[in-house]
Amino acid sequence: MSLGTSDTLVYLIAIPLFSSAFLLLGGRALDRVGHLIGTAASASSFVVALIELNKMLGRDAESRGVTQHLFTWINVGSFQIDATLLLDQLSICFVLLITGVGTLIHIYSISYMAHDIDRRRFFAFLNLFIAAMLLLVLGNSYLNLYVGWEGVGLASYLLIGFWNQKPTYATAAKKAFVANRVGDVGLSLAVMIAFVQFGAVTFDGVAKGIEAGSASSTALNAMGAAILLAAVGKSAQFPLQAWLGDAMAGPTPVSALIHAATMVTAGVYLISRSNFVFDNAPTAQLLVVIVGAVTLLFGAVIGMAKDDIKKALAASTMSQIGYMILATGLGPAGYAFAMMHLLTHGFFKAGMFLGAGSVMHGMNDEVDMRKYGALRKVMPITFATFGLGYLAIIGIPPFAGFYSKDKIIETAFNAGGSKGIILGCVTLLGAAITAFYMTRVMLMTFFGTKRWDSAAHPHESPWLMTVPMILLSIGSITTGFIFSNGDRLKNFLAPVVDKHHHEHETELLAPIVVTGLAMFAVAIGISIALAKYSRKTIPASAPTDVTVWTKIARRDLLQDDFNETVFMRPGQSLTRVLAFLDKRVVDGAVSGVGAMTLRLAGDLRKTQTGYVRSYALLILLGTVAILAAILVVTV
């Protein structure tokens, strides 16, 4: 794959970055136009992206990637890092998703955040996020990616904690940052391994190095595992998933953009981008699959138990990303489908989050679904767009989710051997649970009886909010078909993620059978949900006479309890012990020497008795000692 050059890539990042800086430094003077500037910046970036897409499509399939060298960033000995951007088929997908969905969410936020005194700052952070996320997908090396990687982490931290005057929100932000940092350790290690093994940290350099066989399989597996750790942190995969639910503390547009559509999928991007590593690191690849499969079910189970609409959606996000990660772990066959699911998910999940935001907007920021009910009549547009997203996520044909999820299930079955069967069943089970909990969300929110607070006067949201929702729901209807028709996306991405044109494994089940099974699973999920939630009235507070399993699920499968017991408590104890030791032992040794000298001084001082005869005795003793010594020396 030969790479051209372009000198316009930098604008993608620069526009939102400068806008962000401008908004932050501009101060209160910009309060009245800040949101417009921010939205315009995001939109301009989107336009640039469209132009780039147009240019790219105009080029030959094998030379669609372009780079732009900006400057030498770090150069020490053989460690040479250039600030270079790379736009290829894989990154353009992300760029469009980020800027496209991003712009819609900017527009939505204008209205959603209209009454917040810090709206300007909110837009500045959103722009910062866009810039960082674009850097993440445009960097041509692991280290450039890393900058964006932490950049989105920062933006995510700032936005989760946007209302940090509330201590729990501030804690949630911190938790997200720290969990991400754990992942960052993985990415750091990956860079180090790459540098030591290949002397390069660019994607291109590493790929060539692997091709040249300059790394042992141990090294590659280690690098793969490190990358997986990074992905796990960023994409809220098991076992670093705990932060995502809390991250819903951020304003809902943030949840839609960062914690559903884009940032949390960065792990999928990273793994897909590192396909050359995983294709040669079977152990690491297996780990990827396992992580994906576990998270898929983990998220789904949590989703079943949540009454908080945003947390239910967050759990669903976790689960859906589990699908994507699982797909990337399936090798060349899976990358394209992972990407496809990522893109379709970007649309429908962002749409649903915006829908949830719209509901909250109308319900005085109430998030408990038990206080909702029968909202379809008062919020028709929200209901419609959310409903379309719902159909997409549970995988009803011909909505977008059907195409992407179906392909993943299919690929999972085709993974071969017992692995294929297990993975296939897991994905099917996941599909069924997804159908169950999403139906539950639909029923509790939009159907049934009113369970509103007396103060609530639900109403449809203004057009600035509904239009983005409508546009996203159109995406959730159409994108699946567009991408999968004629394997369009797969072929488009092939030069990047499937360079070697691997032959497909033999099919375990015919595609139509898989589809049938998936539909069956979905149908089961829906019907259980209908049976459980459509007939009975839903209590306004969560029932307490539930099985222990439900309780566990409500507690996020004890993820926080686990972290608390295993990491935080011992960590806090260790901290206290160290603080104590520092004072008593390390510093104590220092002051101990001092105190000892003082005591010695006090004791020795007593030899000075004041009796002249004792001084004389001292002299005599000294004389005897010297005499003895000198005679001993002689003998």
Binding site: T597, A601, L604, T623
Partner: protein
């Protein structure tokens, strides 16, 4: 039979001081009280200045004198020069009349009418000046002695006046007299050891001259028991004078009890003289026995450093702190003797020269901090001095830093030179001990600085008196010397390096 030839020229400096001392005695006896002070000080300063002048004139001398009983060589010149300079500075302090340090009548009973009368009439006996001059002449003779007999006599000429001077304090007479008594008894006790040791050395060497001893060691190989016993006892006498442990016990008591100007004088001058004599003995006379005395001196040096620095920490009286500091410095100085090399010789002389200024300056400042009852030497009452008299506190800080051997003060140059010499001679253990001791020593110097600057002043009448020009001049000279020799020591070092040779 010819009368022995006496080289009056090169003995001039000593003779001048000695003559002046005798004149001082006559003045004290015959001149009316009213004129005594002016005559005494005039004589003393003139004599010291003249002696120094003469010393400068004969600085190139390197020969034996007075029938080989003395050696006027470069080392002597440097040491005598140091003694004269420190003697002069000490005299300046002793002559201070802005406040009374000395008793009007030493013979009077403390608190008696006699004493009261003498005090009121303002007529002060001035026997301290001839005494000082005698001590100076003894101190000049001590390092020049090239003969056990001369050495002993000069030791006594140096010591006897000091015993008396220690008892001359005006305030706290009892303490002062006790200091004199202790100093005297212990001094005499140790000089008995010294003399007894000399006898044994003479018994083996068959000669009292250093040249003879040196020759006999070369011939006999030095393994004779008499010689070694003699050397051991002689060492005791010398170590007593330099206040090395375990012969140091007199130092704090005497330093504390003596009038502070005398303490200043004795701290600087005695140290120079005693180490001067020690150098000549260990380097010249018994250099051939180095294998026997070096281990002992190493042990004593280390113990001295340790005792001096550690006990100083627990002291509450500024003069006692400085006394222990002086003990510690003796430990450092011994490393120069241990080195037994030209470097060691140079370093010891440099150290003595720099140390003298700093220590006189330190005590000079102690004389200034007073209340109605005289000097205030209780450290706690020095609190907040930095606030009350920043200049005095600043100068004192400089001296303390000099004693601590902080770079850019002369103390560091001396310490560096002497440790380098010791290291070079392979005696790394004393260097390490010295370094550790310096660290401990830093503690109590810094404690005083903290006291002065970081504690709030206590309102108890402690104040700094405005001294006369003499004390001011002393402090100024010492401060400048401490600083200049810290920043640009080269002239002094090269002068000492080029002079410091023994006459063969």
């Amino acid at each position: 039979m010819n009368a022995p030839n006496i080289e009056y020229g090169i003995l001039g400096p000593i003779l001048i001081v000695l003559a002046a001392a005798l004149i001082g005695v006559l003045i004290e006896a015959f001149v009316s009280r009213r004129y005594r002070y002016i005559l005494q000080t005039g004589t003393a300063f003139a004599a010291v200045a003249l002696a120094f002048l003469q010393l400068v004139l004969i600085r190139q001398t390197s020969s034996k004198a007075a029938v080989s009983s003395m050696s006027i060589d470069g080392v002597t010149i440097v040491l005598q020069g140091s003694v004269l300079i420190f003697g002069f500075l000490g005299l300046l302090l002793i002559a201070e009349r802005g406040f009374q340090s000395f008793t009007a009548q030493a013979a009077a009973i403390p608190g008696s009418n006699e004493e009261q009368k003498a005090l009121v009439s303002g007529l002060q006996q001035t026997e301290v000046f001839p005494l000082t001059l005698f001590a100076i002449s003894g101190a000049m003779l001590f390092p020049a002695a090239n003969d056990l007999l001369t050495l002993f006599v000069s030791l006594e000429v140096l010591s006897l006046p000091l015993y008396l001077m220690a008892g001359l304090s005006q305030r706290r007479r009892l303490l002062s007299q006790e200091a004199a008594l202790k100093y005297f008894l212990l001094g005499a006790f140790s000089s008995a050891f010294f003399l007894f040791g000399s006898a044994f050395i003479y018994g083996q060497a068959g000669s009292t001259t250093f040249d003879g001893i040196r020759k006999s060691i070369v011939e006999s190989g030095g393994s004779d028991q008499f010689l070694l016993v003699g050397l051991a006892l002689l060492t005791v006498g010398l170590l007593f004078k330099v206040s090395a442990a375990p012969f140091h016990a007199w130092t704090p008591d005497v330093y504390q009890g003596s009038p502070t100007p005398v303490t200043a004088f004795m701290a600087a001058v005695t140290k120079v003289a005693a180490f001067g004599a020690a150098i000549r003995i260990y380097y010249f006379a018994v250099g051939g026995l180095v294998w026997s005395w070096r281990p002992i001196l190493i042990a004593i040096s280390i113990v001295t450093m340790a005792i001096g620095t550690v006990i100083a920490i627990a002291q509450k009286d500024i003069k006692r702190v400085l006394a222990y500091s002086a003990i510690a410095h003796s430990g450092f100085l011994l490393t120069g003797i241990i080195a037994l090399s030209k470097d060691g010789l140079n370093a010891t002389l440099i150290y003595l020269f720099t140390y003298g200024f700093t220590t006189i300056g330190t005590f000079a400042i102690v004389t200034l901090v007073r209340d109605s009852g005289g000097e205030v030497s209780d450290l706690n009452r020095w609190a907040g001095l930095g606030k009350r008299s920043p200049l005095v506190a600043g100068t004192f800080t400089l001296f303390l830093l000099g004693l601590a051997g902080i770079p850019l003060t002369s103390g560091f140059v001396g310490k560096f030179a002497i440790f380098t010499a010791a290291y070079k001679s392979g005696n790394i253990s004393v260097v390490v001990a010295g370094v550790l001791a310096s660290a401990i020593a830093a503690f109590f110097y810094i404690r005083i600085i903290v006291m002065m600057y970081f504690s709030d002043p206590v309102e108890d009448g402690t104040s700094v008196v405005i001294p006369s020009a003499m004390t001011v001049a002393t402090i100024a000279i010492c401060a400048v010397a401490t600083l200049v020799m810290g920043i640009y020591p080269q002239p002094v070092i090269s002068a000492i390096n080029s002079l410091a040779f023994f006459a063969g």
